[in-house]
């Protein structure tokens, strides 16, 4: 008996087998390996806490021993380092009697903002000659103007008095909200250049990054993840024994130990002794440590605290 074979069917079956077979082989290979990323501890903190971290510290290390100086000249202290530098103090004095007192004059009397903490650290050996100069003229023109205004009305009561005088007191008494803008000082804030014998562009005396200088979270985590590879923590039973073992360690730039880690204190129990020894083994065994060179000053001498307190 002859069986008729449909060629297209054969071709279809063969193709299907081929494709499915290829799929079986090619798709059954191992899954792609994904490199585990190192994790960093992240804490959610409030703005207040952030301010605390970034706040400066008066007791901190002095990074810049010299005060800020923008111009070589006789040393001159500065109260406020904010604002444009102007060569001359803009003192607006108008001795001539104005017909109406200008509102813009008043802001001149305003003292600049209270001195900021930045300025506190600066030497204040010299008096402030520039600041005081504007004071006498400021008081005088107004006083004079007032005097003149007072004097003026009596001689010219008939000619000019009637129309201008009634509105004057009105403008002083009525408060027009829409004209507040007119009261504002529209000039850019200006100040004197801070002079010193040498130029120094650093404004602060302390560290440039406040308490954020504590980068231990960054390199500490790196150190932790590296030392953990070697740390075979002894089994302390199922009850926490609250171990806290501290070493003082000094590292060289290449991440190796400068000397043997110095344990702080003597362990009180056999378990704590074993715990201390295991941590010591780990510190020695895992060197050299790969820590960011930028923070070498911070990690060249520090104290790892081996503990089971979760922080």
């Amino acid at each position: 008996m002859k069986v008729k074979v449909d060629k297209t069917l054969v071709a279809s079956v063969a193709l299907h087998v081929l494709v499915i077979g290829w799929g079986l082989v090619s798709f059954s290979s191992k899954a792609f390996e994904s490199m585990p990323e190192e994790s960093l501890p992240v804490d959610v903190i409030s703005a207040d806490q952030l301010a605390h971290v970034t706040a400066g510290m008066k007791t901190g290390k002095k990074e810049n021993p010299k005060p800020l100086a923008e111009k070589v000249a006789e040393a001159r202290p500065v109260d406020d380092a904010v604002g444009k530098i102007s060569e001359k103090p803009p003192v607006v004095t108008d001795a001539s009697p104005p017909p109406t007192p200008k509102v813009e004059e008043k802001p001149v009397e305003k003292k600049p903002d209270p001195p900021k903490p930045v300025a506190e650290a600066k030497p204040k050996e010299e008096p402030k000659p520039i600041e005081k100069k504007p004071d006498p003229p400021k008081v005088d023109p107004i006083a004079e103007a007032l005097k003149k205004e007072e004097k003026k009305p009596p001689p010219k009561p008939v000619a000019q008095a009637a129309p201008p005088q009634p509105p004057k007191p009105k403008t002083e008494r009525s408060f027009d909200q829409t004209k507040i803008a007119a009261l504002l000082d529209k000039r850019d804030p200006t100040r004197q250049a801070i002079a010193g014998d040498t130029l120094n562009s650093n404004a602060a005396l302390g560290l440039s990054h406040g308490k954020a200088a504590d980068n231990s979270a960054t390199w500490g985590t790196m150190f932790q993840s590296q030392v953990e590879r070697c740390w075979k923590k002894p089994f302390g039973g199922i009850e926490s024994q609250n171990p806290e073992i501290v070493f003082d360690i000094r590292l060289k730039r290449d991440g190796t130990l400068e000397g043997a880690p110095i344990p702080e204190g003597t362990p009180a129990t056999p378990y704590l002794r074993v715990y201390q020894e295991s941590a010591l083994r780990a510190i020695i065994e895992c060197q050299p440590y790969n820590l960011p060179a930028a923070y070498f000053d911070e990690w060249k001498y520090f104290a790892p605290v081996f503990t089971d307190h979760k922080t």
């Binding site: 970034t54 650093n202 504590d214 231990s216 129990t269």
Partner: protein, 454 residues
Amino acid sequence: MTQKDGLREIPFRPSRRQIVSGIASLGVLTGGGVRHAFGQAPKRVPIPEGDFVALPIAIPNFVAGTPADAEVGAGVTQVITNNLKRSGLFNPIDPAAYIEHITNIDTAPQFANWKTINAQALVTGRMTRQPDGRLKAEFRLWDVATGQQLTGQQYFTSPEYWRRIAHIISDQIYERLTGEKGYFDSRVVFVDESGPALRRVKRLALMDQDGANVRYLTKGSDLVLTPRFSPSTQEITYMEFGQGDPRVYLLNIETGQREIVGNFPGMSFSPRFSPDGQRIVMSLQQGGNSNLFVMDLRSKSTTRLTDTPAIDTSPSYAPDGSRLCFESDRGGKPQIYVMPAAGGPAQRISFGDGSYSTPVWSPRGDYIAFTKQGGGQFSIGIIKPDGSGERILTSSFHNEGPTFAPNGRVLMFFRDPGGNDGASLFTVDISGRFEQRVPTPGFASDPAWSPLLS
């Protein structure tokens, strides 16, 4: 100038990285780890502990003092390796990885060779047959990282006790590296079971804790149950079904001498020694109930401890002898109670679902182990004497009869898979992590761990 311009920006605009690291470091600051960020004291960086990791240890074969000692040297090494590995706390490194071949234990090893294979501890030793026939065993335990010798000892013994020496050395290593007392130099008495399921022959047997040196103490003509070691003498007490009622017996394992404890009407069962070995506490049957009695082994005087219309059984002393824990169904279901050793009001400590039985007080005093039945399973667990901290260590079809190792860190119990297969012995540590089967010649049940021999 451009550099200076760049610097000028720093004080007023902390970079994003600085802000992020500042935020992150706050965790450190608020964690209390940093008490003084600057000043004389170095910066404290907390290293919170990770999970426990078994300590990698290298134990090369003990050096043979004379060519004839090579075999015993290898044997001692094997026993030590096996002990440490079975504890779950050590990870002995495969000898095939060793780079250095120790030939002389009197000089310090080349630690770099052992660092390379990630060993943190190294044991070297030597076995030497002395001219007088005794065996001299020496060992040193080294800290590979620091190159310090942590401990070192030498022992003399009869050649046939080489296993015991290996156990003693194991205990030394264990104690030095964990801070806990060891438990390897100890024995276990258990009920050896052989024959078909319906006609099991049960014999009392004694072995080292690692399953070696099995010795049979009874012939198997009578049914024996619940053997218990004396804490101070080479005696065990157990229950035997003789011709009549089951009775509590006392057996000297050195001499083989056997005697009935007391002469009571009805059955007496579940005996256990007091910590000083001078008294035996047990249950006596009275009608449908049973109560606890204690008998002084010297004066043979008996004191009643409980008097309830319930079944009080399985008493076990606290290691200081001040209190007793026992099982009672006075509340309906069997539960664990604690009471003063001289009798008095009992306080129930187990309140979980199911029923609790076979309580046994740890030699450390910190825990009471029990068998818990519930949910179609038998579990071995531990609970603190005040009833807190209950912890189930292992569960299966049938687990029963926990007994503590001398250091209170490991429990042995028996597990019956059901069906025709008999029970076998297992150890589990009190964290429940490391469970191990204990090799026995046949089926085995009712283990009881001895105190340390030395």
